[in-house]
Symmetry: C2
Subunit: 784 residues, 2 copies
């Protein structure tokens, strides 16, 4: 069963600091019910599939269903005969650019005749009909003539570059770090360790599949409603595909049942297909993916094959690290170039190492294009580097926590990209706290005792330690700003709209808390609405654990500006001086005269005085210095840190592994909504556990054969560990709202490595591949 | 036929001034195609009746159809039996306050059992059904038991106060001006003139009848779509009737086919009825009024009976004026108290008079409650005072233009409310220009010649001269502020959203021009969207000729702030100094170095630099000093002025009058969109002509019997004068955008009086009642 500890002493200290500073009750750090809890529990929440428009048409996609070939012809006659079919739209019906893809424009919207089919899920046509069933039936009747080409199905084959997925080469992207000189570094070392690792696909497995409705709107443009993380990507894509200006495309995110990165770029594609149908019919067009279509055609975590060579002194000090990683980009680059940036920066782990060389390559294959997934290219290499650290600890006989303490980043350290860290480096604290909350020495003894008294079941303890760059970093700083729109109504209720999205992670709650904190109004009177591109300028994507920092800061700026105006009105009415006015709990008050007014009364007066009661906030990233050629510089604005211990039990007969206990400590800068952080860490842990143990995507000739949850196995309530102890470290980030930095992704990051290390310790063999399925573990056990 | 003159010299001068100031091409003052012209012409415009929602229900109202009585019972059983009926909602189904009315809360939403019926159009129940036809059929089957009371049907009966429409008295509102001492004033005079006038109802006769759709929305509240002038009134009303906070009610104005004041408060009622149905069913509820229901139940221009006593010196100088006016408020006060404020301030006309006494009374009757209508209580008294001026001119033998020039307001004058005018008083110029454009002396001779050569047809020349307070004035300054939200997209297109509405008057075009002027972007790339309460705080109503000044200034502020940011980016990129940068025609350029960048390029760069590219603007009224007890002070922020000459031909046999020629001159401060002003003046003139001659609302026992356009006659193309010459005077208002003040209402104001005066001159009898129908004119001719 999941358990929580009451938050660690650091949080309580942090809280006291804030209170001392402002001398009032704060919403920040307090226990709040999720603002979107009730409608999601009572069923009132409207997901896109629940939304119907008058005269709405239903779309279904015609997929290539071949991994590699040339599209010679599309026969739509049989499909068009199905009663209720409205149209079958192909590349010839795309009014604008027939091109998708955020970074590299290598992906067609609808594959044109004469062009290449590059994977099973390539979309050739969109069928529109009066019902979903008719659309699906007709889509099955569209016949494609495709001349087969030999498919490229593995990283190894791709690297050979004999059959080319794209011209001129399959190995089209290469990113690197050159810090110091690894050759010299290795010369200083007492021991050299090498290892090769492979991390497989992981499916985001959001509860709600992809879906949109694109509808002509009252402003003579199109509005897109849908489940998504990045409304501005969708807006750009639809405008481009329809060849209409951005001020004729509006995107409104509907309640979103999970994203995990899987709704970063994919909804732009989904919306573009539906937009073609809406444009050609002038009717609202709905396109909801079946689970099978979703798994077959959309983004996953990238498979990464990596080779590590690490040089250490005998006291455990890391001296040099050389890494080569190959990332399977599938048929199209999609987000891979920016995913690779994160792989690059995180490959060497949370350590200070004098000499580092990293090469990351992206290679094309004839398979589904992976893209964003919680961690964004880092869990694969963090699994690898932390497996290497475990191996080093074991070989050198150094306690795994000790080894990490010796090498981890501190204030004053320089990362693998030579980024000098000046603040908010809670890495050491997370490790120290971990020892305390896990009763480290006792835990080790307990496991030893268990293993001494059990023959066929063995337990192992795995440790891991990670860092995680917050927000888009140097590679994405041109997108790294966010807006907020805050409006106060005459009855004192408040509307907040941000550029970031809520996809289950708790963004609405933390934003409502920030607005409440700044305004002094009750959280219940703050409505954080569904995001809508019309309210705030392009605020970048909702990814990279950036929402609390970026949308949060923007909201804070807007709300604090409004508060200043309210304080002025308060002072006009009461004769107070602004410096004596404090606020909170729905009131403004003079700390000297004790005069007070409720927020609602004060707003009523402000309205009567024609005070402007809306404001826009905007938070832009501080500029980062980055040398892309050498991979040297300020990779991210700040980093979150985490350390984790897991106890895993392996059944030596069946190969089954189960997590028994877990202890995890996270430096979040400042816990704005501790309940939300606990939720994130629980969720991240379990998703990481699924990645490490259960989720095994299987393909045959490039077609995914585990395309629903009966074959693609994700953890359930039964797999949850007996104990999950969560510890929060608050080492404030001066630019974060109240000191906060991200937690969305770092919550998952340490888990795969910790579990792999625990299994390795339990069975005495190194796990070098995840997921570590029973079959794989049995094979390891039996290997000599 | 309508004709236009090329605009008068003042405009050309004004234009030059602006150009000299900024040294660049300006959008302001140029000829622009209406931004909303194409969709309104090609039929793509979506009016609320064109909009359908999934699962939408149709509403129909059950009216009292009695003028005065007590509602004893409502029988819904027969209605509920009609197949397809969903529900019949009465006062018992109103979840919140069962109360409508913006100013006085004297009007129920749905009349409760046991309470009074006060007019034919009182709403007792809302029927909801699957189709409009079913809802209408079922509404006819709802049976009401009403105990009759004697109805109060005239101002005279109401004043007797024997039968009371509301307790404690029918004469419930009284407003006054006491400037100087009229008794003393009259003593100084050579002549005293007295007269009694009556102006009847006028129906707004918008093309599109009232209509809304209220729908549950994705943010767990309700969104109202509808034809309206004042979205914030609707928001407040729906929130109150449903007992939900303002941040759960959003109002989006759909394309609106005319308002003329008739969609000021009425849409709040319409939306409240529909909201009750939406709330009780959880489905989108549509309520579109039939023309008959619309004319029967909704607002009109108030009938006003007025008595004038004017003291003059023999040289024509006005010395004292005493006025009593009675306004028929119908069954409920609705907007009457604020309409009366305008009646009060305008009753003495555009003249400087030392001693003024005005009393305006609002009285209840059992008839439709009049409310806002272009001019808002002023045309009735401007007709009266200008008729008096004509009588004075005739009796004293002073040229009517001369007489007005002698008395009109100038810089340094004080109005009837003792408001000292310091700027933008173009009254004299409008009179002087009028003489010129009408070829005044020649015109008089032509008419004399005509009359000498025709027996049964006589022509008369009528002159009038008016002033008009811009915006809400002292009585409404707590509402007198407006917002704007301007956002620039990455492709350089611009979104503008204002708190004011477009109802055909050209608001979108003038706002687009202001944004284009400030940003230097092409007008075609600016999309002024349908207003939505979510984007800007309560911006007051779209009434009182205030939109150009208030929404315009707000847009100007927001856009100029954005321009500053773009100039900074331009300077960063080009090394220019900000003071050398100019903009326009889609470009920014350095006037010294000649370096230039297109707006679109510059925006792209700004996006890359994370510059905040949205802004909110807010313009609040300057505070006005006002003594409500004496009616003394700054009644309005500024005044528009107009003068008009019409030539009317009367057929002495039939009594038919027709306007032959018209010359009209308007001081608008600055003509931002001259084409738009011409449109407003043409429309205002024709609507004023309808009021003066054709539009005769007939009632029988309080029920309107002219409830469609086959019996209520409005002017058509055939009634348009041969010649309508429009002159624009630009005497800038320093707080208006580029000097502009209002034109929406002043366009109509001089016409009724000018026409009445022309008829009076043609037939030699004083017209004291409008409309001057053939029957009335014949009666006058035959009177002795």
């Amino acid at each position: 069963m999941l358990q929580r500890i009451s938050l660690c002493p650091f949080l309580r200290e942090g809280e006291k600091q804030v209170k001392a500073l402002t001398n009032r009750e704060t919403v920040i750090g307090s226990k709040i019910r999720r603002v979107d809890a009730v409608p999601k529990v009572d069923g009132k929440a409207k997901f896109v599939a629940d939304i119907y428009f008058d005269r709405m048409i239903y779309c279904y996609l015609v997929l290539a269903k071949k991994s590699h070939g040339i599209l010679k012809a599309i026969y739509t006659d049989q499909a068009l005969k199905v009663p209720g079919v409205i149209g079958v739209y192909t590349h010839m019906d795309v009014p604008g650019e027939n091109q998708l893809g955020e970074v590299v424009k290598d992906m067609p919207c609808l594959v044109p005749i004469g062009e290449k089919i590059r994977y099973y899920g390539d979309v050739v046509a969109v069928v529109a009909a009066e019902t979903y069933e008719i659309a699906k039936e007709a889509a099955e009747k569209v016949r494609l003539e495709i001349v087969d080409l030999p498919p490229v199905l593995t990283i190894e084959e791709s690297i050979k570059d004999k059959v080319k997925v794209h011209e001129p080469t399959n190995i089209s992207i290469h990113k690197k770090i050159r810090k110091g000189n690894v050759e010299n570094g290795f010369k200083r070392c007492d021991e050299i360790f090498e290892g090769e690792f492979y991390a497989h696909y992981q499916e985001q497995a959001y509860l709600e599949p992809q879906g949109v409705i694109v509808t002509p709107d009252i402003d003579y443009g199109f509005t897109v409603y849908g489940t998504m993380q990045c409304p501005y990507y969708v807006q750009n894509s639809v405008a481009r595909v329809l060849a209409i200006p951005l001020n004729r495309v509006r995107v409104i995110q509907t309640e979103t049942g999970g994203g995990f990165g899987g709704k970063e770029d994919v909804p732009s594609f989904v919306a573009s297909y539906a937009a073609v149908a809406a444009y050609n019919t002038g009717r609202p067009a709905k396109l909801i993916y079946d689970r099978e279509v979703d798994i077959q055609t959309t983004s996953k975590r990238h498979p990464i094959k990596s080779h590590y060579k690490i040089g250490v002194r005998k006291d455990g000090k890391l001296e040099a690290m050389e890494i080569a990683a190959y990332m399977d980009m599938g048929a199209y680059a999609t987000l891979s170039p920016i995913v690779m940036f994160r792989t690059l920066v995180h490959a060497a782990g949370s350590y200070e190492i004098p000499d580092v060389k990293v090469d990351v390559y992206g290679v094309y294959t004839n398979k589904v294009p992976p893209g964003a997934f919680r961690g964004f290219g880092s869990p694969q290499v963090l699994f690898a580097v932390e497996s290497m650290m475990d191996e080093i600890s074991k070989k050198l006989g150094i306690d795994p926590i000790e080894l990490r303490l010796k090498n981890t980043l501190r204030e004053g350290s320089k990362t693998a990209t030579d980024h000098l860290l000046l603040e908010s480096v809670g890495a050491v604290k997370t490790l120290e706290n971990l020892r305390e909350i896990s009763r480290w020495e006792q835990l080790k003894k307990e496991v030893e005792t268990f293993n001494n008294t059990n023959e066929n079941r063995k337990r192992g303890i795995g440790v891991s330690h990670i860092f995680y760059g917050v927000s888009l970093g140097a590679a994405g700083q041109h997108l790294d700003a966010s807006g907020s729109h805050v409006q106060i109504n005459a009855d004192g209720t408040v509307d907040v709209r941000i550029g970031g999205t809520e996809m289950g992670q708790g963004a609405k709650t933390v934003i409502a808390m920030i607005a409440a904190e700044e305004l002094g109004q009750d959280v219940q009177k703050i409505n954080v609405h569904q995001p809508d591109t019309a309210f705030v300028p392009d605020s970048g994507p909702t990814v990279a654990s950036r929402t609390t920092v970026y949308s949060g800061n923007a909201t804070r700026l807007a709300a604090s500006e409004l508060r200043k105006r309210l304080i002025n009105v308060f002072c006009e009415l009461t004769g107070s001086s602004t410096e004596n006015v404090d606020w909170g709990n729905g009131k403004f008050y003079d700390t000297v005269s004790n005069k007070e007014m409720s927020f609602d009364e004060l707003v009523e007066e402000a309205f009567r005085k024609n005070v402007k009661l809306n404001e826009t906030g905007w938070y832009e990233t501080p500029r980062l210095e980055w040398d892309a050629e050498r991979g040297i510089g300020e990779a991210y604005v700040t980093y979150s840190f985490a350390s984790q211990i897991v106890v895993v039990e392996v059944n030596l007969n069946t190969g089954q592994a189960k997590v028994i206990k877990a202890y995890t400590s996270h430096d979040v800068g400042k816990a704005l909504n501790p309940e939300g952080i606990i939720g994130q860490v629980q969720g991240g842990f379990i998703q990481g556990m699924g990645y490490a143990l259960y989720e095994d995507l299987k393909l045959k000739n490039g077609q995914i054969i585990t395309d629903n949850f009966n074959t693609y196995i994700i953890p359930t309530i039964h797999e949850i560990p007996e104990e999950l102890v969560i510890d929060i470290v608050e080492d404030p980030f001066s630019r974060g709202p109240y000191g906060a930095k991200g937690i969305g992704e770092p919550s998952l990051m340490p888990t795969p490595a910790a579990i792999a290390n625990a299994i390795s310790r339990a069975i005495g063999k190194r796990v070098t591949r995840i997921p570590a399925t029973p079959e794989y573990i049995l094979k390891l056990i039996k290997e000599d």
